[in-house]
């Protein structure tokens, strides 16, 4: 009965929109600003910017990219990648971001979740989980763009982060990311069952059946789509129509 949010995900490296598979083999697609504006005009419910190498190389150009986007994008923007402190969050919010999603820095220092939530509100603090399945029912959290093991159980970590004040969880399945084989339903379901905050599923969109599946069986509140949009395999309008036909409730567009 709640509207399912359709999020356009833009992975960024330096000044470029890029896309990889399993968070690797990154290819340059174009100027993120062109795509951001296009997705806004096509009716994205939100935009999600992820600087995929920021946590490896320190500060990124993301603040600049967000500020440019905020000039003509009037839907919420979530920003992820390389955010380490309350000051980093302040900069991004000033640039026009609405929420931040934090992975590596939260794993290294979980208290950061509480600091951000207390300062800006839980609604602003999205926990980003990038996870790989290690065994049945066990998904391990990875940091630094899928490169580093953390030893954390993704489901347990989500529960802990929600208790620390996270307001949403962005769940990226590294196994599915860039594969077009469908979202990781089991992983998303396990996390959605463990927390009472909204869950965004990311990684694996290939066709409209996948979207229906991740919402109905995976319990996702929001779905992020990336390369299917970048490569024009589908449009937001077409995804929205298919979702509605399949019985999902989506935002009404004038």
């Amino acid at each position: 009965m709640k509207n399912i949010r359709l999020i356009a995900r833009l992975d960024i490296k330096g000044p470029n929109l890029i896309k990889g598979v399993h968070l690797e083999g990154l290819r340059v697609i174009g100027d993120p600003q062109d795509y951001a504006r296009r997705y806004y005009e096509q009716g994205a419910d939100e935009l999600l910017y992820v600087d995929v190498v920021a946590s490896l190389y320190g500060r990124s150009k993301l603040t600049e990219i967000v500020r440019r986007s905020a000039r003509d994008v009037f839907v919420p923007m979530t920003v992820a990648g390389g955010i380490r402190s309350v000051e980093d969050v302040t900069d991004l919010l000033r640039a026009g971001a609405d929420k931040v999603a934090i992975n590596s820095a939260a794993v290294h220092r979980p208290q950061l979740i509480s600091e951000v939530a207390r300062r800006f509100g839980s609604q602003c603090m999205v926990l980003s989980i990038e996870a790989k399945q290690r065994s049945p029912g066990y998904w391990e959290v990875y940091t630094d763009c899928g490169r580093e093991h953390s030893g954390l159980d993704a489901v347990e970590w989500a529960r802990q982060a929600a208790a620390l004040g996270a307001g949403e969880v962005l769940v990226t399945s590294i196994d599915r990311e860039g594969t077009r084989k469908g979202f990781d339903v089991e992983l998303t379901r396990a996390i959605a069952d463990a927390v009472s905050i909204p869950v965004i599923a990311s990684g694996g969109y290939g066709n409209d059946g996948h979207l229906h599946e991740i919402v109905q069986q995976g319990g996702a509140d929001a779905v992020a789509v990336a390369d299917a949009l970048h490569y024009d395999r589908t449009t937001l309008m077409s995804i929205r129509d298919a979702a509605r036909t399949a019985g999902l409730q989506m935002r009404h567009l004038p």
Binding site: N3, A70, R71, D72, V75, G121, P198, R251
Partner: protein
């Protein structure tokens, strides 16, 4: 003549997107943090995110409360957004009881935790909500003049305004079967629980209609 809008800057939240939304709708935007600037405003915007108490504190610290009240009493247009809408009410129950600007009588209450059927609801409520017209409401010549019933807007909140007089409700949305006040209005005072600057083309219509008041 380019319409001018004065956006109150009281040290809370991000004003960039709010300012941009008014700019693309053709207004010249001034950011004001002292009472003298507010006194000369024609269209005034009170934005805000965060906790009620710190919001009111931010206004008091800058001596803005009386200036905002005077603006409202003069019948000039005022748009409160999100926390800015909640502060138009009399009292908030967020983290204890706190007095608001008391321009539209009502209380700020926490959102229900369960649906009318008793199922758990996710709070904060984040996402796109559909606007409905309460039976007594008329959207003509208001900030919702160009909005259609059924249009969606983006909001993020854990608390909502309950007006003492149902006639002050301009739009409601459905939260787990409970009607929640999404827009309140009394004369030229308008409060939007949603973010017009983040609600796509529908939000920009609200901005444009507000500027026309």
């Amino acid at each position: 003549m380019t319409p001018q809008v004065t956006v109150i800057d009281y040290g809370i939240g991000n004003l960039y997107s709010v300012g941009r939304a008014f700019e693309v709708c053709g207004a010249e935007v001034l950011f004001a943090s002292d009472p003298a600037q507010i006194a000369t405003a024609r269209h005034l915007v009170l934005p805000g995110v965060g906790a009620f108490e710190s919001g009111m504190q931010g206004l008091q610290d800058r001596g803005l409360v009386e200036a905002i009240r005077a603006h409202a009493e003069a019948g000039k247009p005022l748009l409160g957004i999100c926390l800015g809408m909640q502060m138009l009410a009399s009292v908030s129950e967020e983290f204890g009881e706190h007095k608001g600007l008391d321009l539209i009588p009502g209380r700020v209450l926490s959102l229900p935790q369960t649906t009318v059927e008793g199922e758990p609801l996710k709070v904060p409520h984040i996402g796109w909500a559909t606007l409905y017209k309460p039976p007594e409401a008329d959207w003509q010549q208001t900030a919702l003049a160009d909005v259609q019933e059924g249009d969606s807007v983006y909001l993020v909140h854990s608390f909502a305004v309950q007006t003492d007089d149902p006639a002050d409700r301009l739009a409601i949305s459905n939260f787990g079967g409970h009607p929640v006040c999404t827009v309140i209005r009394r004369g030229a005072l308008i409060g939007c629980q949603f973010h017009p600057e983040k609600s796509g083309p529908v939000g920009l219509k609200v901005v444009t209609s507000f500027l026309a008041l």
